[in-house]
Amino acid sequence: MAEKTYDVIVVGTGAGGGMAVKTLCEAGLKVCALSAGRRLDPAKDFRNHRQPFDMKYRGFGDPKTRAQSYGYMDNEYTAGIWEHEITYTTAPGTEWMWPRCWAVGGKTNFWGRSSARFGEIDFRAASRDGFDTDWPVGYEEMAPYYSRAERMIGVASTVQNRPSNPDGDYLPPMNFRCLDYILKSGCDKLGVPYLPDRIAQLTQEHAGHPACHFCGNCTEGCDTGSFFSTPWFFLPLAEKTGNLELVQNALAREVLVDENGRAKGVAYVDRATRAEREVYGRAVVMAASTVETAHIMLNSKSRFWPTGIANSCGQLGRNLCDHLYGTSAYGYLPQLLGQPSFPDNVSSSTVAWMPRWQNLESPHQEKFIRGYSVYPYGGTEELPWYYKRLEGFGSKFKRDIKRYYPTPVSFTVQAPTLRSDTNYVDIDPEAKDIYGRPAVRIHFQWDTNVLEMWEHSKQACADVLKAAGGERWGVADAPEIPGYSLHETGTCRMGNDSKRFVTNRFGQCHDVSNLYVADASVFLNCTDKTTTISILAFSLRASEHLIETLRGG
C-alpha cells in the first residue's frame, strides 16, 4: 500500500470529531476520518416513525437480549446500531454502563439535544469554592466559539439572564405545554427557575435544514435531519470540499509515533475484513469519546511513551467525571385529570428545564458545592406506565388509565461528580476485546457531594410538585448507575501545567504537539450542563489552533 500522508487523521465522527473534520476540511486540509462503525441510512436505520405495534416485541425488545441494553436509547427501534461487540471491564465495586454509538456520527445520531453553555461560574468554580483547579480558559474566551457552534447547529431557547447560564444565539423556543405552565407556577412560588431548555431542535428551518415536524421520537434518530447530528450537518459540508476520506468500520488500535515520539498516524483494524491497517498524517485528532479516547491513547505504548502516548504527567485516563441521573420525584397533576390527550412529547426530551439555582450567590450555601439542574418530563407518553399506581382491574381501571393519561410528571436530576483519584480508566491487565485490543477498565464511584445533590433534589422536586398542586407518587429508589447519562468527561484534562495535565488550553497534548484531543476528555469536570455544545465549541477552537500550528510549520 502506497504511503499516503494526510494532513490530519481524526479518530471519531461524533460531535468532537465531526466538528474537527468539518473545520479542517474547510480550511483546505486533507483529512482521513476513522469511524469505528458504519454509516447509517436514515431511511432504513431510523425507525422513529414506527408505532409499537409495528415492532416485533412492541418496542419492549427481544427478551433474550433486553438485559444487555445500554440504556434508554439502545432499544428495539435502534437495534443493531449501538455497540455490543466490543467489551470493557469494570473494577471490583464499580458499576458502569457504557452506551456507545460507534456508527458514523456517534451519539449525535440520537442525543438528547439539551445545549446549555458552560459559564464563568463553571470555568472558575475552583476559585469560588477552593476545590480542584480552574479551567485554563474563561467564558469570555469561549463565548465566540459557542456562538458559532450554535449558529451552525441551531438551538431553540430564550434569553434568560441566569447567573449560571450564559445566553446564546437562539431560534424561537419550544412552546410550553399545560404541564409546563402548571409546574412553572409551582416553581415561581418557591423561587426555582422553570424555563425553556436550550434545545438543538429546529423550531424553524435553519442553515438549509428543515424545521422539526414534532413527531416526538428524536432519540430513535431523525429522518429529516431536523436536529443537529454530524451526518446531517457537518460531514456533507466536509465531503463537499473533496478533502475528506471517511473510513467506516475502522476500530483504532493505537496512535503511531515516529522516531521522535511524535504522532505519525493511527493503526486500526477493519472490522469488516479484520485486516490490519495504518493511516498516516501530519497530525492526529482524538475524538473517540471520553473513555475510548483514553483507551486508545493508553494502548499507544512505545519506547517514548511506556504508559501511553502523551502521558508523562501520569494523568491520562484519570479524573473521570460523570452526571448522576435519577428520578428525584414523580407524580401527577390533578388539574389535567380527564383532559383530552395532548401532544406533550413532541421532543421526546426536554422542552423545559430547571437550570442550576443552588450556590449561586456564594459557593457554600448548600451542604454540597457546585450545583445541579433538573429536567421535568411528563404528559402523554406512548405507554401509560402510571397504571402501576392505579389499583384493580375492569372498567374502572380502564377508565382511570384514560383519565390519568395527560397527568403524569417526573423530574430527572443532572448532577455532576467532582474530580476524584478513585475515578479513572486504565487498561485491564488481562482482558482483551475480540480484536485483541487490551480492554479498557473503568473505576468509578459516586462521591458524597453528588449524593448530597441527589438528596437535595428529591426534597426540592417534591416541594415543586406540591407547590404546583400536584400529587407525588414517589421517587426512584436509587439513581441510575454511573455512565447512564452519556456525559462522562475528563480523561485528558486541559491545563497550563504540563506536569498535571495531559493537554494544554487548546486540547493539544503537552508532550506531543501534533496530537490533539477534541472531545469531552479535555473537560476539567462535567458541570451541571450537558456536554455536546461544549464539545462542539472546544473542538472548533482546537481545530483552528491545529490549523494555525500546521500552517506555522
Binding site: 410550553f176 401532544p343 380502564k398
Partner: protein
C-alpha cells in the same frame, strides 16, 4: 418482567419503555386468525389467560383486551421469554387450584361475578387475604402484560388517543395560557 418492573416503578425521565432487540421487518401485529394456536400455553391455559385479560381490560362499550388480541401478545412474549414461563404456568395452576378449593369448580366454569370476586382479593389491598400471596404475584404479572399488550396495540393506543407520531408545523402549546395554574380545570374534572 424485571425490566418492566424496574421501569414502571420509577419512571426514569429520559427513558422510554423500550429495550434492545433484533429488529425484524415490520408488519401488522394484530392479525387474528379465527382459530389461534398458542405457542406456549396449552389450549386450556390459553382460554383462562384470555378470560383474565378480558376481566382486566374489558370490552365494555369500547374495545378491550379481547379485541386487541392481548392474549396472543402474552402468549408470544411468554414463548420468547423463558424467565416468565414458569411464573405464568405456576400462576395459572394456582388459580385453578384456588377455584377448586373455594368453589369446587374450574375457574372457567365460575360465573362472571365469581371470577371477578376471586380476583378482587388479589387486586385490592383492602381485600387481600392471607395465604394468597402467590395469587397476588400472578395477578400483578398478568395485569402488567395485559396493559403492555393492550396499550401497544393499535386499538389500545386509539383508546387513549395517543398523540405522538403525528406531524405538527409548530411545537404544540398549552391552550389555556390565561390560567397558568389550570385551576379552572379542577372543577371541570371532578
Amino acid at each position: 418482567m424485571l425490566a418492566l418492573g424496574a421501569w414502571a416503578s420509577q419512571f426514569p425521565g429520559f427513558s422510554r419503555w423500550v429495550y434492545a432487540c433484533e429488529h425484524l421487518s415490520p408488519g401488522p401485529a394484530e392479525i387474528r386468525p379465527a382459530e389461534y394456536s398458542p405457542r406456549f400455553f396449552s389450549p386450556a391455559e390459553y382460554t383462562t389467560l384470555e378470560r383474565l385479560t378480558d376481566l382486566i381490560i374489558p370490552s365494555d362499550g369500547t374495545p378491550g383486551a379481547r379485541e386487541a388480541g392481548v392474549a396472543e401478545f402474552v402468549d408470544f412474549m411468554a414463548s420468547a421469554d423463558s424467565s416468565i414461563q414458569y411464573r405464568f404456568r405456576y400462576g395459572l395452576s394456582w388459580l385453578e387450584a384456588h377455584a377448586q378449593s373455594l368453589y369446587g369448580r374450574r375457574f372457567m366454569d365460575l360465573a362472571a361475578d365469581e371470577q371477578s370476586g376471586l380476583l378482587e382479593h388479589l387486586a385490592y389491598k383492602d381485600h387481600f387475604r392471607p395465604g394468597e400471596e402467590d395469587g397476588r404475584a400472578f395477578f400483578e404479572l398478568i395485569r402488567d402484560y395485559t396493559v403492555m399488550g393492550f396499550y401497544t396495540s393499535r386499538i389500545g393506543m386509539e383508546q387513549l388517543d395517543y398523540p405522538g407520531l403525528k406531524l405538527y408545523s409548530e411545537s404544540p402549546g398549552c391552550p389555556h395560557k390565561n390560567d397558568p395554574e389550570h385551576k379552572h380545570l379542577l372543577s371541570v374534572n371532578s
